[in-house]
Amino acid sequence: MGTSPTTAPTTAPTTELTSADYPLSINRPELLRTPTGKSITALTMDAVVSGELSAEDLRITPETLQLQAQLADASGRPQLAGNFRRAAEMTAIPDAEVLAMYNALRPRASTGAGLAELADRLESAYSAPVCAALVREAAEVYQRRDLLARPAADSDH
């Protein structure tokens, strides 16, 4: 393809999508890029064989997740759209850390301070305010329902 491999924009897309744009892979392929900036139409067998593509090219971008969130909103699914917005934020977080964060949210796995730090890290390191809000909400509920880890070293019980 050889089109401009510009880095993907970091701002939310300005395109206004409606249900008629779905599926994007067929109706709006020009909107879809890989994390390395290639167009989705560049994901061809020739490119695979020549070694131009890496596994990184087969990942979804935060911009695409924002587009899917628009489609979810346009089709009356605000919760699904919210999930896609959290997902868009999470694309930047490495696999292992995503799993570690998930484990930290399990019952009695983290102290209140631990969850507060996690929320701060989501915001400061990954610009993930929507995910951070979910973690802060969890911390508040865990506190009320006795689901926080005890700050002291835990003994066998």
Partner: protein
């Protein structure tokens, strides 16, 4: 001793008829009396809360008789995320009978129903579906299913975790029509090889089949991230706080996990079902259906696109109490009526009685659901590593005949023997090539021949399990991805299979499969509730089995030709 031993005779003389009835398979099934105080009751319990809702300051402050300070974490999550605050008071004020009528009235559109259900509390939803008999529940399902076109999902596993078997059975399953194929393992360390086999075999049978491998979260997510699997569904949720905690999760941890999957472009649904809480001894005195409705709303609040429900692995519990299968049909309806994809059970061994097994599936098969079975065993049940399904390979012809009898689409079709043999052989050959390309333990020509003609894992030569397990580990250590499978297929001459797989992998870049009820057609068109919305509006509308698809489903193994009755068509 086996669990299927006949019952002990009572000692006194029985009539000959009683002896015959005692020997009927249905009497090997277990039935118990209800115990509502402990939650051993399907859906009619005096101990379930009465519906109520109150909104103040932009949030729900009272839910089903509880004030916000007394909410457990399920109440809190549902109040904060699932229920539409703006319409909650108004929707809950509508008499339950009116909402139930909306569900079955063809002149009320699906969207008009959703405008009401988005604001309902769990107890209100229960109050509505409690008014419906099983035919009305089916009518509701016919309209509320999210995707217009119904589909089916298969289980492709092996009692020996034999990857060649999984590849060949995946190819046959895909050819027969399964839109999704799921596998799991006896020996977990085999997972990478079996998941590869499923992915390759599935794309041989029919391009666009989506695959998954049920494992613990971390490995399941990793295989998905690498493009060795395409979706996930074994993300369990529960209807009481105590059982949720026993499962070492909370609604917030699961919601986080849901976003994690989406962030990697992987389709995902949660799993729940009636009976799980009472089975674990912590139903908190609530009916099975009330607790399942809490699960459905929790899933909705998490923003996950769909849910696998219909009791699933606990089916023996609702199956044993009065009205249990009505409750199971109702839980599927509830998932659909809050706009979630519903993969509707029928996926676990359920009864010794063939008649009961068939009856159990009617409330899903007749109206159609997004996936009628969330695991029809596309291997013999003895090879089913999900502990057996309600239907297996021996039932293929019965299933096809029932589809033809009632003119309903259960997602499968009859396929001619020569096509099946060709697909099975090609899948085994393709996997042989991929294993060679990746320097994995070789697949012999004898194994390919065995795969072509086999029924079960017993029909294959033994593999060197230790070598396979080393190979499986090396797949993880070397960071093999779906792209490596594409390269292996392409370089060994399986160009069409390689293209199919690449097209599936490309889908995750687009995110189209993340939308509600999405599947891929054989032409790789994403079909979801957005571009294939259920438009049922009464007789003559909605999904109809007609045209080319109906011609396919008219075919069976033996149909006498009307042109020449001395021959069969097919």
């Amino acid at each position: 001793m086996t669990s299927t031993a006949p019952r002990q005779s009572t000692g006194h003389r029985q009539s000959l008829r009683t002896e015959i009835l005692e020997a009927r398979p249905v009497n090997l099934d277990g039935f118990v009396e209800e115990w509502p105080e402990k939650g051993l009751v399907a859906m009619e319990s005096a101990f379930d809360p009465a519906p109520s809702v109150r909104v103040a300051g932009g949030q729900i402050v009272e839910l089903d008789g509880k004030l916000r300070d007394d909410f457990d974490f399920m109440d809190t999550f549902i109040a904060n995320h699932a229920i539409d605050v703006a319409s909650a008071e108004e929707s809950n004020a509508i008499p339950s009978a009116e909402i139930a009528r909306m569900l079955i009235n063809p002149s009320v559109s699906r969207n008009a129903v959703l405008a009401v259900t988005r604001g309902l509390t769990p107890a209100k939803v229960l109050d509505v579906v409690k008014l419906m008999n099983v035919v009305e529940i089916m009518q509701g399902m016919q309209k509320m299913r999210a995707r217009r076109t119904p589909a089916n999902q298969g289980h492709s596993t092996s009692a020996r975790d034999n990857p060649i078997q999984v590849a060949a059975d995946a190819a046959e399953g895909a050819l027969r029509g399964f839109a999704e194929l799921e596998t799991t393992l006896g020996v977990l360390r085999y997972a990478p090889l079996v998941a590869i086999a499923l992915q390759v075999g599935g794309q041989v049978g029919r391009g666009g089949v989506l695959t998954q491998c049920a494992l613990e979260e971390a490995t399941e997510l990793e295989l998905g991230m690498r493009g060795i699997t395409a979706y996930a569904e074994t993300i369990s949720i529960y209807g009481t706080e105590s059982v949720f905690i026993d499962g070492d999760d909370t609604p917030w941890s699961k919601a986080f996990l849901a976003a994690a999957y989406a962030s990697r472009g992987i389709k995902m649904r949660f799993t729940s079902g009636t009976g799980s809480e009472v089975q674990m001894g912590n139903a908190e005195g609530k009916s099975m259906l009330y607790l399942e409705i809490r699960c459905v709303l929790m899933a909705k609040g998490a923003g996950v696109q769909g849910l696998q429900n219909g009791s699933i692995s606990c089916i023996g519990v609702p199956g044993a109490v009065p009205g249990g299968l009505r409750a199971v049909a109702a839980e599927n309806l509830v998932a659909s009526m809050v706009d979630l994809e519903c993969a509707s059970g029928n996926d676990q061994s359920f009864s010794h009685s063939a008649m009961r097994r068939t009856a159990r599936a009617m409330p899903q098969l007749l109206p159609g659901t997004d996936f009628v079975c969330s695991g029809y065993s596309s291997v013999p049940n003895a090879d089913n590593m999900f502990a057996g399904s309600n239907f297996d390979t021996e039932d293929f012809d019965d299933w096809n005949t029932i589809q033809r009898d009632f003119q309903v689409d259960g997602g499968l079709r009859h396929v001619r023997e020569d096509e099946i043999l060709q697909a099975r052989e090609k899948a085994a050959r393709a996997l042989q090539a991929v294993f060679a390309h990746l320097d994995l333990p070789p697949i012999t020509d004898d194994e390919v021949v065995a795969a072509t003609y086999a029924n079960s894992s017993n029909d294959y030569p033994f593999r060197d399990v230790l070598s396979d397990l080393k190979g499986a580990q090396s797949v993880m250590d070397r960071g093999i991805t779906g792209l490596d499978l594409v390269k292996g297929l392409e370089s060994s001459g399986f160009h069409d299979v390689a293209e199919n797989l690449l097209t599936v992998l490309r889908q995750r870049v687009s995110g189209d499969l993340l939308q509600t009820s999405a599947v891929l057609t054989a032409d790789f068109v994403p079909l979801s509730a957005i571009n294939d919305p259920n438009d049922y509006a009464g007789p003559g509308t909605g999904y109809r089995l007609e045209g080319e698809r109906w011609e396919q489903l008219k075919k069976l193994r033996h149909v006498t030709s009307s042109t020449n009755p001395e021959t069969e068509v097919g």
